[in-house]
């Protein structure tokens, strides 16, 4: 059923509270009952199934594409290729460089070439197998360095460099008595949301339009791209959010949307497309693999004088958000530390690897892994503790970034570090309690020797931008209707599991004095809410809901003011009543005041404008920042290369805890993903092919991998945030990765410069 709410949700809504309360999810009942409709669960009698034919090669010319044999299979209703795309043949969030279907050249393994619709998934499989594709193999570009040095011919008309961006700041010749240098490498991480890609497209009669029910992060971003490719006006394409089983950036780009709509329009029948897990690995973008070099110059007491850095991000075959990911990486190169001089160069490049784009942390994960490795080297070189070197350099509100941007947000970096440091270390002895082999690194099956196990402690601290950057106006829209004591909210904010639906109800309840807050269907019949990404929805869509509710409250006060012949300025909400502050005995319940009255307001929330970066990387390009610190404790068997993360302590700058239960959920979930990147998660690439596109070979953290988490929520309301609250989604997964790697280094005394840390990195 997804959204809107059912009666059971409304009942829960009555029990629950206001901003600051640990309110439980309005969709909780449906989700625990198995009644919540994920995109793969939508009922539709007579719907056809769609499936996608994908490239087998990382780089090849399509010499011949013959779909006629597939038409001979009974049950096949449509076969479409690039020739059948009526509108724009390409799409993309920033540059429209990715074909809906490859026509002349394929640029990565898994690139769509054709799609079919048929009566049954099995018929689809047979049809795909019958389509003839003859390839002329071309040399794949799989080494991103060759994209930078120009030694490989362009693999796309737009060239092999997606973006080059430098950041030059202060005196490039500045130096200090201490210089530390390091090279860092990060593998390709997958978002691995559990709910596989799925969509259902319903064509309008005569093919005049289409309605797409889909699990996505960004309703209107999808809409713009889909409509352009379908060659339809935007008002003829309607998106409805189906239940989303997690996203983490992996649903920011299109995957099956255009294919599903095209098949529905071609057949005039409803069409559903579901990916399996292997196809999901091929069908969505991943986190950018990176190689990073950094050199820090510092005073002998450990204060940073200058940073030099070089970033190389492998964007894969198409641009996706690579240019924005690069900007995040280079502009966060200094970390949450004061630095007046910088020479930073970065490239995001095109290769014949799978396309990479958004994943939780978005470029800052890569930068943080490098700058935190550097801080530990600096600490060692200056004889300081990891904590002390970070405290000495911690930035504050008013400090200037290497882009020239002044930090105007609350910036409690020092407090993040101190509060993390104050959290107790684990009382669990090295190797775990008692003789339980499950507590050993590697668990019972990998036979770590208790006598060999060493413990290490490591630190990571991060700064993360929130909202979109470089002049992008990623506004959000919300409507509030107050009628008969019930508030109804409407927005296009993609609920992907993060809990915005809960926050939205809390805001309305708090501002309007109502218990019952209904949520209208999440679709594109209202203005854009932007994407559920960049830690932005609490701020942006929370801001829009807040603004709409405040306007409705003004209307309510005007209405009651007229009833009482009183100046509305005297009126306030107390509990569930409108009260006259001058004569507090005079009060009316909101329910009575709005009986038979409908007050409706729509609001658009915009954040303050940002600037593009100039060619030297100068400009106030980011909207706002949040900060976080992590301390990791690990046990390592250095001979077998096994790691057990024992404890993570964290303090996070969250502004205000609108819903503490939900905040903790984000912190713990983010820590799990950062742990995965640190010690297990990697899409293993070989010659442009993914070697482990399954959950048997792409390892995700389990119940047994998850360490104890101690969290301190730092609540310093940010006056720039509409609710005082910062986004909490991304910071948890950013500095936990370098903290774990630092802890492993501390345990074994070996320089580790690559994540995920593999057994051979530890023991060989």
């Amino acid at each position: 059923m997804g959204y809107p709410v059912t009666d059971s949700e409304v009942l829960i809504g009555r029990r629950n509270g206001l901003i600051g309360d640990s309110v439980i999810r309005p969709d909780g009942v449906e989700k625990v009952r198995g009644e919540f409709r994920f995109a793969s669960d939508l009922p539709m009698e007579g719907a056809l199934w769609g499936a996608t034919l994908r490239s087998l090669h990382p780089h090849a010319r399509i010499k011949r594409l013959d779909v006629t044999p597939a038409w001979a299979i009974p049950g096949v209703e449509a076969i479409i290729t690039a020739e059948d795309v009526p509108g724009k043949s390409t799409y993309g969030l920033i540059f429209a460089d990715q074909p809906v279907f490859a026509s002349d050249v394929v640029r990565y393994v898994g690139e769509p070439i054709a799609a079919v619709a048929a009566d049954h998934p099995e018929t689809c499989r047979k049809a795909l197998a019958a389509i003839v594709v003859e390839y002329e193999l071309l040399e794949p570009l799989t080494d991103p360095e060759r994209a930078v040095d120009g030694s490989h011919p362009p693999i796309h008309p737009d060239g092999n460099v997606i973006r080059h961006q430098r950041v030059l700041c202060g005196d490039s010749s500045a130096t200090g008595p201490v210089v530390v240098e390091g090279s860092y490498e990060m593998g390709m991480q997958d978002q691995a949301f559990l709910g596989l890609e799925a969509a259902l497209a319903l064509p309008d009669p005569g093919g005049a339009g289409v309605e797409l029910h889909v699990a996505t992060q960004a309703m209107h971003e999808d809409l713009h791209q889909i409509a352009a490719c379908l060659g339809l006006p935007e008002d003829k394409v309607r998106l409805v959010l189906a239940g989303v089983g997690g996203a983490f950036g992996g649903r920011e780009d299109l995957s099956l949307q255009v294919h599903t709509c095209l098949l529905a329009l071609r057949t005039g029948r409803p069409v559903r497309v579901h990916y399996g897990r292997e196809e999901s690995f091929l069908g969505h973008i991943h986190r950018h693999p990176a190689t990073i070099w950094m050199r820090h110059h510092a005073t002998s007491d450990g204060r940073i004088v200058k940073i030099e850095a070089r970033f190389l991000l492998d964007g894969g075959a198409y641009a996706s958000t690579s240019s924005a990911v690069l900007v995040n990486a280079v502009t966060h190169a200094q970390g949450p530390y004061v630095c007046h001089n910088a020479v930073v160069d970065g490239w995001s490049v095109r290769t014949n690897n799978p396309p990479c784009g958004a994943m939780r942390g978005f470029g800052v994960v890569q930068a943080c892994f490098a700058h935190e490795g550097q801080m530990d080297k600096l600490a060692a070189a200056c004889g300081l503790s990891p904590v002390e070197v970070r405290l000495r350099n911690a930035m504050r509100t008013g400090d200037r970034l290497i882009t020239g941007q002044v930090i105007e947000n609350v910036a409690p970096v020092e407090r993040c570090i101190r509060e993390t440091d104050a959290l107790p270390l684990p009382d669990e002895p090295i190797g775990g309690y008692g003789d339980d082999p499950m507590r050993l690194p590697g668990g019972a099956g990998l036979t770590a020797d208790r006598s060999h196990i060493r413990r290490g402690i490591g630190w990571g601290v991060a700064i993360k931008n929130m909202m979109y950057s470089e002049g992008f106006d990623d506004y959000s829209t919300a409507r509030c209707v107050l009628e008969d004591g019930v508030a109804t909210l409407k927005f296009a904010t993609a609920e992907v599991g993060q809990g915005f639906v809960t926050i939205a109800q809390q805001i309305a309840r708090t501002l309007l004095g109502v218990d019952e807050v209904r949520l209208d269907r999440i679709d594109t019949t209202i203005g854009s809410a932007g994407s559920t990404s960049a830690s932005r929805q609490t701020w942006m869509s929370g801001g829009a809901v807040d603004m709409a509710c405040r306007r409705v409250r003004e209307r309510l006060f005007e209405h009651v003011g007229q009833l009482w012949a009183t100046d509305p300025i005297r009126l306030v909400i107390e509990g569930d009543c409108v009260v006259d502050t001058v004569d507090p005995a005079r009060r009316i319940s909101v329910s009575d005041a709005t009986s038979g009255v409908r007050l409706a307001e729509t609001a658009e929330y915009h954040h303050p404008p940002t600037e593009p970066l100039d060619e030297n990387g100068q400009g106030a390009c980011h909207t706002a920042f949040a900060f976080v610190a992590h301390r990791a404790v690990v046990d390592v068997d250095p001979q077998l290369g096994l790691v057990k993360v024992v404890q993570i302590a964290t303090a996070q700058d969250i502004g205000v805890a609108l819903n503490p239960l939900s905040v903790i959920g984000q912190l713990e979930g983010g820590i799990a993903q950062g742990l995965g990147l640190a010690v297990m998660e990697e899409i293993v690439m070989q010659d442009g092919r993914i070697r482990n596109p399954s959950f048997t070979d792409y390892l995700l953290p389990t119940f047994l991998d998850m360490p104890a988490v101690l969290a301190s929520l730092i609540e310093e309301p940010d006056p720039r945030a509409p609710l005082g609250a910062k986004g909490v989604g991304e910071p948890p997964c950013i500095s936990v990765t370098p903290a774990i790697v630092a802890a492993i280094r501390d345990a074994i005394g070996k320089d580790l410069h690559r994540v995920p840390v593999r057994p051979q990195d530890i023991c060989l």
Binding site: G28, A672, F703
Partner: protein, 182 residues
């Protein structure tokens, strides 16, 4: 002797059944009638012998609360109960459930009254996107059936085969312990 002959007879009949089955399957469209007690109701359906239990539940019966997350029996999103035992329904064929009793996530609440485990997950924020939740809840009920007062470590070991990508697991453990102690 008699015993041996009977065994041989059974084997030949099994072999002829298998070859007949293979022939039917290869020619397509071969189905078997099964009757499964699902959530307390006997359901009789014609299913292909190769159909997985999870697809029978989702597609034949339309009970979509049981989710598919991986295709490789790694994630546990499809966990349900077969004769009271928690089972990944992608590891069984529908025909193997013939004559058995299956309980899915849709079958554990009593009308509007949630099962205590469902309530515990909701109240302890043991879910975010909710995709793993039906499998987690069913697996968790299975744990408490065998071990009504588990320790935290016992819960973690027992649920190692169920993946969650949103929560970091702690609130799921809390939910189960709250239910056990509730």
């Amino acid at each position: 002797m008699m015993h041996g002959l009977r065994k041989w007879g059974m084997m030949t009949s099994v072999i002829s059944e298998i070859s007949a089955l293979v022939g039917h399957v290869l020619s397509g469209g071969y189905t078997v009638q099964i009757t499964v007690n699902v959530n307390g109701t006997a359901q009789t359906s014609d299913v292909e012998p190769r159909q997985l239990l999870v697809h029978y539940v989702r597609e034949t019966l339309g009970l979509t609360g049981t989710n598919v997350g991986c295709d490789t029996s790694s994630c546990g999103a499809c966990t349900l109960h077969v004769n009271g035992q928690s089972t990944k329904s992608c590891t069984m064929l529908a025909v193997q459930a013939d004559g058995q009793s299956v309980t899915t996530i849709e079958g554990i609440a009593k009308g509007d009254e949630l099962h205590p485990m469902q309530k515990a997950f909701m109240e302890n924020h043991g879910l975010q996107c909710g995709y793993c939740t039906p499998g987690m809840v069913m697996a968790a009920i299975g744990i408490l059936d065998e071990n009504p007062k588990p320790t935290e470590d016992e819960v973690r070991v027992a649920l190692e085969g169920n993946l969650c990508r949103c929560t970091g697991y702690h609130n799921i453990v809390k939910s189960i312990l709250a239910c056990a102690n509730g």
